[in-house]
Symmetry: C2
Subunit: 489 residues, 2 copies
């Protein structure tokens, strides 16, 4: 057979001729460590002996996977939306039935099985706008600015997509993202062939924004021939667990305005604020308080059902509030979303419950509030427990977990461990993470998956295991860590 004929029989898509930007993407939260953790789980199932009894996946903010119970009221509403037979069930409270009926009335043919508008069901968009307006002490929110999406990620990608040029452009569009960052951003920037302009957060200052760093990053990007287009701020922070001050927000808003940057406000952890003195301030409210010209800036704020006290990751619900978009650009965005038909109606319904929960006097109010505050209080305890524990272990320093669902402790690795990592061809934090996984079954994500200052080492762990499991995990981790430090000191 000729060489040409053999070649013809190979695959049509190969590493050499496939989309090079997809090859470049990294998504550490579901990367090699997680793949290995899943393999170990299967090994344990097959009876392979391990020095631990189970794998603890502290790699991802997945509350229900870690034993958090779904919010009862929320699931009652979703159950009715999916199977309206239950509307006649006397055991289901009337407020859940009313919520479900309103959602069904918003569905064509009164069925969650019909397509919704691509931007979402109108009544739910209206509820979202009311929620935002209440959250922000009356600052107006326009329901037509609300786009429902299957989780915040989808909304973020849809808006960011507007900024790149698949036909090639003289200058690469640059997206400023915090370092450390949530890998959705680095992955999307890579996929869209944009330039990642990472600005370091100030670890010693509990991961606050540092305007000098942000300016330096901008200047460097411009010097490198990049065209800065947008800045991403994650508040409360992922993976850093920080909550930004009003001053910090104001600074970055002025900076974005001055430099004509589109502002991405990733505010999916807005319900997750734990530390005394910390408070969530929305970008929307801030620009309003600052008045013109800031209140006229373009701003996209994202929210999700996956986090907060509900943790409904698998349901895929979220929204974007898109303020001050050029109307023609907004029309293009809507058109591009429409090719994806619509976000899951059940996810939209889930978002509806989150923005329109039981109110005082309704039958489910007390039990709903008890569940919500119970979960948030327990998360606050766990946030403190995790940071305190790390700070009590030699070789760790950990900033206060003010919010979100993660601690991002700094690992002070001995020189010998760093040398050993080099020897085996791994980044030092990746080496540590794999050792931890193989020895204890604990799966965390090394700092290099999020970005960190060169020469520093961190990892991200969720605070989501239930308290006894969390204590046992931290014990296991400490035991490993002490031995590791001994071995390499």
């Amino acid at each position: 057979m000729s060489t040409a004929a053999v070649e013809k029989m190979g695959p049509t898509i190969t590493l050499d001729n496939m989309n090079p930007c997809v090859k470049k993407m990294e998504y550490a939260v579901r990367g090699p460590l997680v793949i290995r953790a899943t393999e170990i789980e299967k090994e344990i199932q097959r009876g392979v002996s391990k020095p631990f009894k189970d794998v603890i996946k502290a790699n991802i903010g997945d509350a229900h996977a870690m034993g958090q119970a779904p919010v009862v009221f929320l699931r009652q509403v979703l159950g009715l939306v999916v199977n309206p037979d239950g509307l006649n069930d006397p055991l289901i409270p009337t407020d859940a039935k009313e919520r479900a009926q309103v959602i069904l009335d918003g569905c064509k043919g009164q069925s969650a099985g019909s397509y919704s508008d691509s931007v979402g069901i109108e009544i739910i968009r209206r509820h979202v706008a009311e929620y935002i307006q209440n959250r922000d002490g009356g600052v107006p929110s326009n329901w037509e600015d609300i786009v429902l999406c299957a989780g915040a990620s989808e909304g973020i990608r849809a808006v960011m997509k507007l900024l790149f040029n698949p036909t090639g452009s003289s200058k690469k569009p640059g997206i400023m993202i915090p370092i450390p960052q949530y890998p959705l951003y680095s992955a999307t920037v890579a996929e869209f062939n944009m330039a990642q302009m990472g600005y370091f957060l100030d670890e010693e200052n509990n991961w606050a924004l540092d305007l000098n760093e942000i300016q330096k990053t901008l200047d460097q990007g411009i010097a490198d021939g990049v065209e800065p287009r947008a800045i991403v701020v994650i508040n409360p922070g992922n993976p850093t667990g920080n909550v930004l001050s009003k001053q910090n927000l104001e600074d970055v808003i002025r900076f974005a305005h001055k430099n004509k940057l589109f502002l991405f406000a990733d505010e999916v952890y807005q319900d997750n604020v734990y530390a005394e003195g910390s408070e969530f301030h929305s970008f929307k409210k801030m620009v309003h308080e600052m008045g013109e010209p800031y209140s006229k800036m373009e701003l996209a704020s994202f929210m999700s059902c996956s986090k907060g006290y509900m943790g409904e990751c698998g349901i895929r619900g979220g929204y974007a509030e898109l303020c001050n978009l050029d109307p023609e650009v907004n029309a293009m965005l809507n058109k591009s979303i429409s090719a994806k038909l619509c976000p899951t109606v059940v996810g939209q319904a889930c978002m509806d419950v989150v923005v329109n929960p039981p109110v005082k006097g309704e039958p489910s109010y007390d039990s709903f509030m008890a569940q919500k505050t119970g979960t948030l209080q327990s998360l606050a305890e766990r946030a403190k427990l995790v940071a305190d524990t790390f700070n009590s272990i030699d070789g760790f320093t950990c900033q206060t977990v003010q919010g979100a669902m993660y601690a991002f402790p700094r690992l002070h690795l001995p020189e010998k461990a760093i040398a050993k990592a080099k020897e085996v061809g791994q980044a030092p934090d990746v080496f540590y993470a794999f050792q931890l996984l193989e020895n204890t079954g604990i799966c965390i994500i090394p700092g290099s998956g999020f970005g960190q200052r060169p020469g520093t080492y961190h990892f991200r762990t969720t605070i989501l295991p239930q308290k006894p499991a969390l204590i046992s995990m931290l014990d296991r981790l400490k035991g490993f860590h002490v031995k590791f430090m001994e071995e390499y000191s």
Copy 2:
């Protein structure tokens, strides 16, 4: 204020500096006609007088919106997955409970609120593979080749994304798509800056594939400097309602192999086959029957919960079977999907019920089968009714609706109507469609949204209105058409 300062206060994203490929995208199924139809609905609500009482949206394959009842068994399972309280409800049949329990056992923490693997829940992927294997008379299907996705669209886009080059390439990658086509393809090809290589279907031969046309299109593309990478076949056809013969499939498989094209098999209407003598043949089975080298070709086949007899569009469930992908490319695909976290778990559960319905002997079997066959039988009647009606009206010819959910009748427009359309700056079929909408409230999609041979005019209408509504719609349409033809003859 200086000009620079004024300019600074404008939006950062404008039509001039936004993604040019998003601007180019068109998605007619949710385009200007549908936007106008929705406006008219609101006008009617506001009391504006119209020559009709309601808007009929025959623009999109949205069965529940048109009054089709959800499959009871399916919704029982989904209801339990969302709210497992019902597992104790004696009124819900045991087979629904068993299905739901298996799905919940596949969810981390036994909750649909936890993230699944990005490629979907393992047990559901296994059920999909079993379904395919049964469908194809035992041709093996490997569960690891199955990727669950939020509707087929998402899967199609994920695979097609592998083929473009956002960094620019010397030759544009070309995707061969049928004309007429489903606008997801033209929209995605435009968004990904690829070259659309449209091959005309043979209308007179009930929209069959025409190998000469396909070859001509390939030759022309190569002459134009395009690099052909893939061919899309939609079977049963959208918008054309045709079902391809085995010979047709075999021809296109040989063609794809010979020209090293990746094969996209859009088979979402595989349950929707109505015409006597028509039968669905999967590409997967065909390549297996043809043996090597064809059985070793890369092939992506897509399925959805949105069509068939279930019509669960809003739930967003679907799968892709990806055969013979290069393992390294497959790893890249999985990585790129993982940045989107996971498809909706409820959508995955919906897919599970579709591939794993009640079997003989189970309590829900009889009622499930009655509902399924009732729906499909009624669709078959409506398919015949629509085509027969168009063929009975002067100025229309309509091919047999062999399958899917659409008729794509040809409109023989008088010269005067064509001249009038030109005068008002519309394509003749768009002019007709707007006139129809404004005069009757019927929303159909003009052929130019799907593509058609130059100088021919068509539109796509769904066959989904329930029978009395369909008869009344066809009456209204006929009344308008007769007047229109008189006016312009």
